[in-house]
């Protein structure tokens, strides 16, 4: 299982103005606000956590079933249930500030309008206990009807506003649900984002064929897990081709080898989501697996390998 972490290898990544001593983070929505995992795994041994989405008001979320297994993955439609800005600031953030020493915290932010996104960022910006924001644009833009992340103009406007609202690292989490994720990456870059997370879930549906209703209370949901690993690696590579921003690779990562696919495709950090449900130790094992890969490959520093994917001439 957990391979031993070598002492010679350096897995740290310097990005967003800080050093992540490990490239592995827990993905938003799969680790709550960190407290439950703190009992199960040494959070300070990994690079950090991304919180459950925080919205201005608390959200109650969708009716059950909210989760189910799908082939090679899972579907979820939580409905962004969360404690809201107030409780997050007063209860969750202070705990994170106290409990974590080395692990970095990104706050995942969600809203139904640009105003709501901005309210969360402004409401947190003066607080301690976190590094920056990961902006979840995969939720429906109430005015326009489409998602923030699938409309070029709407996304550009949102990033522009948030850039003015904070000097902290601003990471935009891209949805794969577009014709070319590279176009959206470029927009984020030109509007001043500091980094990109790729990818969020794919829209999916499971039908309960006996009752002839959607299995998931919300009707449809987002697909995550190993099933989307090759799509996430592809998106990471497309983003790498399209802009210069640092990339956080997400989607289906179970082990060091999966993480290395993202890193070679261009990600400097990775996030582990669904795999933690299967094994709470997944993120720690991913870290150990990357370290083992470096040792086996006789590479001293992970940073050397970021984007190290070669396209052989004959294969182009």
């Amino acid at each position: 299982m957990a391979e031993r972490v070598g002492s010679r290898t350096d897995l740290s990544q310097t990005v967003f103005g800080v050093t992540f001593h490990s490239p592995v983070l827990l993905a938003s929505g799969t680790c709550g606000y960190g407290q439950e995992y703190a009992d199960l795994i040494p959070l300070d041994d990994i690079g950090g956590i991304v919180t459950k989405a925080v919205s201005v008001e608390p959200r109650v979320g969708n009716p059950p079933h909210r989760v189910a297994e799908t082939p090679g993955g899972m579907i979820n439609a939580i409905g962004l249930e969360n404690v809201g800005l107030e409780v997050f600031r007063n209860e969750k953030l202070p705990w994170l500030d106290r409990a974590l020493e080395r692990a970095q915290v990104l706050v995942n932010v969600v809203g139904r309008s640009a105003d709501e996104y901005e309210a969360v960022v402004s409401g947190l910006d003066a607080e301690q206990g976190f590094l920056g924001y990961e902006i979840n644009v995969s939720c429906p833009n109430v005015k326009g009807g489409t998602m923030f992340g699938t409309d070029e103009a709407v996304l550009g406007g949102l990033v522009r506003r948030l850039r003015r609202a904070t000097e902290r690292p601003l990471v935009i989490k891209l949805t794969p649900n577009v014709a070319d994720v590279g176009v959206f990456a470029k927009i984020c870059e030109s509007e001043g984002a500091d980094g990109l997370s790729a990818i969020n879930t794919f829209p999916g549906m499971v039908v309960d064929i006996d009752r002839r209703v959607p299995l998931i209370g919300n009707g449809s949901g987002g697909i995550s897990g190993p099933a989307i690993l090759p799509m996430g690696v592809y998106a990471t590579w497309r983003v790498r081709q399209s802009c210069e921003l640092p990339i956080i690779g997400i989607g289906g990562i179970r082990n060091g080898a999966d993480a290395m696919q993202y890193i070679l495709a261009g990600a400097c950090l990775v996030q582990v989501g669904t795999a933690s449900f299967v094994d709470p130790n997944a993120a720690v094992d991913v870290h150990a697996g990357i370290a083992a890969y470096l040792e086996r490959s006789e590479v001293d520093s992970l940073a050397e390998l970021v984007g190290g994917l070669a396209f052989p001439a004959a294969r182009k």
Partner: protein, 260 residues
């Protein structure tokens, strides 16, 4: 009682009814700290030989000497089919104990009402509480005789004689478990089984002013409260997490008008 993640070796596995296995794993931490009504997430880990399974919740059915925990597993879909194929000596990944157990008042007698694999938590409970001198009734219903848990093993595990109900009447009393309850009784009622049965039980308890605690089922992602996947509706209209606020709830704290 912080949950523990553990690679657990399957020590024994036997068929105890049609499509139903009794599986005992070596998992001392869970066996030693678990209280009846709590559950564990059972999975195969991040095996990469072509297998992907999310863990599934199972009541800790019994805890025995030497750090053994027993689980009652009935095949249903992909996960239960995979688990019941595990061979003695194979490893599973177990996370537990999780959630809220049944809460008993000192001395008060209990009536455990089990439907199908809802029997599981009451195996442990009947064993310990009957041994401790509490008055315990174990009322256990199945659709038909083939589905009834091996009665010799059940007696051995619990040291107790269950009252059996089958809908086809080919074993025990013909009918459903509710028929076994006295409206005027005052024992604490504990229920576990399919939602329609729990709903009927809750209705019985409400009309007869009986105290009832039920263990509910809902799909789970994490089992530890982080994913918000496992909600059920409380009587005051909130979504509550079955994995940390339950799976055992006072019946009157839940909204029985919606869902499964």
């Amino acid at each position: 009682m912080v949950p523990v993640r553990r690679q657990a070796v399957l020590r024994s596995s036997r068929v105890v009814a049609r499509d139903t296995w009794w599986m005992e794993f070596d998992c001392p931490e869970i066996a030693e700290t678990s209280v009846a009504g709590q559950f564990a997430m059972l999975g195969v880990g991040l095996d990469t030989a072509g297998t992907w399974l999310l863990p599934r919740p199972f009541s800790v059915g019994w805890t025995g000497p030497g750090g053994v925990a027993g689980f009652l597993v009935r095949t249903f879909g992909a996960g239960t089919r995979a688990f019941t194929r595990l061979a003695v000596g194979d490893e599973a990944l177990v996370l537990g104990p999780l959630g809220q157990p049944y809460v008993l008042e000192p001395g008060r007698s209990i009536e455990c009402v089990a439907g199908g694999v809802g029997l599981a938590p009451f195996i442990a409970l009947a064993a310990s509480e009957a041994a401790a001198g509490r008055q315990v009734r174990l009322i256990y219903g199945e659709r038909n005789a083939e589905a009834v848990f091996d009665l010799d093993l059940l007696r051995e595990l619990t040291g107790h004689e269950p009252e059996i109900y089958t809908e086809d009447g080919r074993m025990g009393t013909m009918g459903r478990v509710l028929a076994g309850l006295d409206p005027a009784g005052d024992a604490l009622l504990l229920g576990c089984g399919p939602t329609p049965m729990l709903r009927a039980l809750a209705e019985f308890a409400r009309t007869n002013h009986r105290d009832l605690q039920v263990s509910v089922e809902e799909h789970m992602g994490c089992g530890i409260g982080t994913c918000q996947g496992c909600v059920v509706r409380s009587s005051d209209g909130r979504w509550v997490k079955a994995c940390v606020e339950g799976p055992v709830f006072p019946a009157d704290s839940l909204d029985w008008t919606t869902g499964g």
